[in-house]
Amino acid sequence: MAQTYSGVRESKPGRVNDYGGESIKTAEAFKKGCLKRADRSFAQGLQCQQINSMSALMSLEDAVFIAHSPQGCVGCTSLAVDMYRVGQAHRGVKHIKNPHIIVTNLDQKSVIFGGENKLRDSVNLAIERYNPKLIFVFASCASGIIGDDIDAICSDIQKEVEALIIPIHCEGFKSKICASGFDAAFISIQKYILKDTKLPKDENLVNLFAPVSISYADQVEMERMLGLLGIKTNYIPFYSNLEKIKQIPAAAASTSICKVFADEFMKTLEEKYDIPYSHTVMPIGIRNTDKWFRGIAKVMGKEKEAEEIIAREHERVQPLVDKIKARLQGKRVFICGGTGRSFAAAALIDDFGMKLVGLETPTYDDDAQVDIEYLNGIHGDYVVDIANMQPFEQVNLVKKLKPDVFIGVPEWAAKLGIPTTHVLDMKRPTMGYDGLIFLGNKIADQLSNPGFNVKLSKHVRLPYKDSWYDEDAFKYIVGGEENV
């Protein structure tokens, strides 16, 4: 086996998080190994990996989530909590529950004397209150820097208790790439729950890994599609439980809804449990949905059936897609999103005959190269901004490129008066053949009725100086001098 993966995404060679340039040159440079790691001398805030670790697991039943941190580090759970509640409503749950999040509330004293006692007390409290099956302990910047050994503390507590105590190393300062937090969560699931225990195979069972950002409508669509192939789905870890996680090794294959979710974990599952996997794209748009579906069908030896289904689905949705295409053909698009969504959206717009002028995505690596080359083939040159949000760069580019529509977090482009729409709608359909139609209509409607943004832009200013828009958007990207 290769060297154990640390969970820090930067540890993979060739991965770049700070870069900006023209797409064709970028792809060439990456191919030649000339795209070097850089940094931003000025940047705006990022999403830390702890946010991802917590959100990935927050909907598990019978679990308590302990943040070994000051109170502030559970701030972003407000988003996951909302998703958990809305998800229950969508699933018809009558009494909608809050997840149980306990913060050890590290303070001045803990910073000096360590937070071990607070962690022990929190675990005891969790057991006393809920007697849960799972207790996750999330590290933080503070717990990491003061040197609390959460592994040792958890393993010591574990001797006395029945609940599984699972420490997760998601210290924020360890990674610039928030998706590292997903890896940290899965590494702990393997280490503390699965523990190399092999199970008899269920030849029809597929692990479908889904993060918090997948709507129930999308879950239903994914399960419907896999169902057409006669596949049973183990939908994890979102809205699942310990039993479903323990079933992971019994699956015949694995796939994921998101490119950066469980991708490393699926490799581990192959190595340790002989579970083959399909790692393709996010199933948004016809091309990507086909690709995603073919990927898992191939691993399951159901390629022929898949082709028949794809043909049938195309026949069903193509007329609807054509109608939307007639409204969107030739429109120029700027896209900003997470790794999975940005590339998926970029592929999607081709279904509607739109033209890509700018793409913002958090990470450039081998995986991204495949997509960029594909997009270069369709759209020719466009601007690539390797950034996790960084709205100051985004608005600079958007103002210069003047796209007809912006796809991504709408907050900033909207203030420039550009029609905006989003492919990260965690509560409504986005994926598969059905999601495509919903999404296409959404884009077309928002593009044809842009009044809100147009009027907003006349009254609201973005927080940047006028002079900023005349500067090079990538002015603050430093280092990696060999970059083109």
Binding site: F42, C48, D82, I145
Partner: protein, 428 residues
């Protein structure tokens, strides 16, 4: 000393400071912190405050050093300086505040000297040491005002006898802060006063710089802002009065108005005429829907200011029956707790409700579950679960509010009490 908490309400000290800065027009925080603190602090407060957030900068638009392992080991001052320089170059802000997260706090980066370089060049950049582990967002509210008093507010501003400063309503930590401040301003202007809310009508850093010229500080909160108020008086000679809660409805708002009038020795006729007009306004509406709301035995769960205001309004003015009040924020100091308890239990006609202090969701749920008689819970979005299990009405009207959109809706004052009453209508 911070307690272990289940589902804590709001963020750390840094989050509280960010909320205040986010509510001031054209002010830009710069975070010297780990990569997630911008998002975490905003999601903790703004993100749970009725789904609106600072339009200037918030979350991932806040400049940040995003400290990684390298900065943890070697220090992050170099990164901080290029970040401050970048912010000055491109952000169209009137003032910048450099704040520290846990990471910078623990490794001990000297932000004061780093910032002084830019101050020497004439930029309005202020350092505040604010590691998250120092406390919660309430503390953040006091820390930022102490910093304003120490570093920003000017001395020797000419006194304006008609000018008052409003403190104690914490932006975003009160989801109705905007509307509440607007209503309180409207009331005070009705008395002929000029009002610094600091957070509405695009009041900016200039308002803060010159607020030492006020005749009176009015603290609208049962316990926050004691320290800063003392410091404010010592440094600038501006006295403070405290209205111990959020004034909601005709009775309490009248009490609030009289307290202000007395402190400023306002003309009695002016005050009485104003009260008469406002009370007539409220009662002309209440008279139109008598009996529309069924009688309720209620529990309130919220921060002390909201809990005091809501309980007193529903009990004194609306004749609902108060049974239980849970103060869901950590309150420090026995005298503070006593003041809160007194406000809640000193009612006109109603039998005083039970008062419980706990910020822990498990304890809150358990206390609610044990209270058999209630038919209404006025709480946060977190209380929907307990209300659902009990099968009683639930109005989400305190922090955190995640399942409502709140712009300028008020629950304070005269008009706010009518909106709150509208929200109580259930048609069940």
């Amino acid at each position: 000393m911070s307690e272990i908490l289940e589902n804590p309400r709001g963020g750390c000290v840094l989050a509280g400071i960010n909320s205040v800065l986010g509510a001031i027009y054209r002010v830009c925080p710069i975070l010297h912190s780990g990569p997630g603190c911008c998002m975490q602090t905003c999601a903790a407060e703004q993100g749970q405050s009725g789904n609106k957030s600072s339009a200037f900068v918030s979350s991932v638009s806040i400049p940040s050093t995003n400290m990684l392992e390298r900065e943890v080991v070697f220090g992050g001052i170099k990164k901080l300086k290029t970040t401050i320089q970048g912010a000055i170059d491109i952000m169209d802000a009137d003032a910048f505040f450099v704040l520290t997260g846990c990471t910078a706090g623990i490794i001990g980066d000297d932000i004061v000297s780093a910032v002084s370089e830019y101050q020497d060049k004439g930029y309005k950049v202020y350092p505040i040491e604010t590691p998250g582990f120092a406390g919660d967002s309430n503390l953040g509210y006091e820390v930022i005002w102490n910093a304003f008093i120490d570093q920003v507010i000017k001395k020797d501003v000419p006194r304006d006898e008609k000018l008052v400063n409003i403190f104690g309503i914490v932006p975003y930590h009160d989801p109705f802060w905007s509307g509440n401040l607007e209503e309180i301003s409207r009331i005070l202007r009705g008395l002929g006063l000029k009002v610094n809310t600091f957070f509405t009508e695009h009041q900016g850093i200039e308002t803060i710089e010159n607020c030492s010229g006020a005749a009176l500080n009015i603290i609208v909160n049962p316990w926050l802002f004691g320290g800063p108020a003392k410091k404010f008086e010592e440094k600038f000679g501006v006295p403070s009065i405290r209205y111990p809660g959020l004034p909601i409805g005709a009775t309490d708002t009248g009490r609030f108005v009289r307290q202000v009038a007395e402190a400023l020795k306002l003309d009695e006729k002016l005050v009485n005429d104003f009260l008469e007009k406002e009370e007539d306004y409220v009662y002309s509406y209440l008279a139109q829907s008598i009996g529309a709301l069924s009688w309720k035995r209620f529990a309130v769960v919220g921060d002390s200011a909201s809990a005091v205001g809501i309980t007193r309004y529903l009990a004194n003015d609306y004749s609902f029956t108060p049974k239980l009040v849970i103060i869901s924020e950590p309150v420090f100091g026995q005298s503070n707790k006593e003041r809160i308890e007194k406000e809640i239990t000193d009612l006109e006609y109603a039998v005083p409700p039970k008062v419980v202090f706990t910020a822990d969701q498990f304890e809150i749920n358990r206390t609610l579950a044990e209270e058999e008689d209630i038919t209404l819970i006025v709480g946060s979005s977190n209380e929907r679960e307990a209300a659902s299990l009990k099968g009683v009405q639930c109005i989400a009207a305190t922090f955190p509010l995640k399942d409502r959109l709140i712009f300028n809706r008020a629950i304070a004052g005269y008009r706010g009490s009518l909106t709150l009453t509208e929200d109580l209508y259930d048609n069940l």
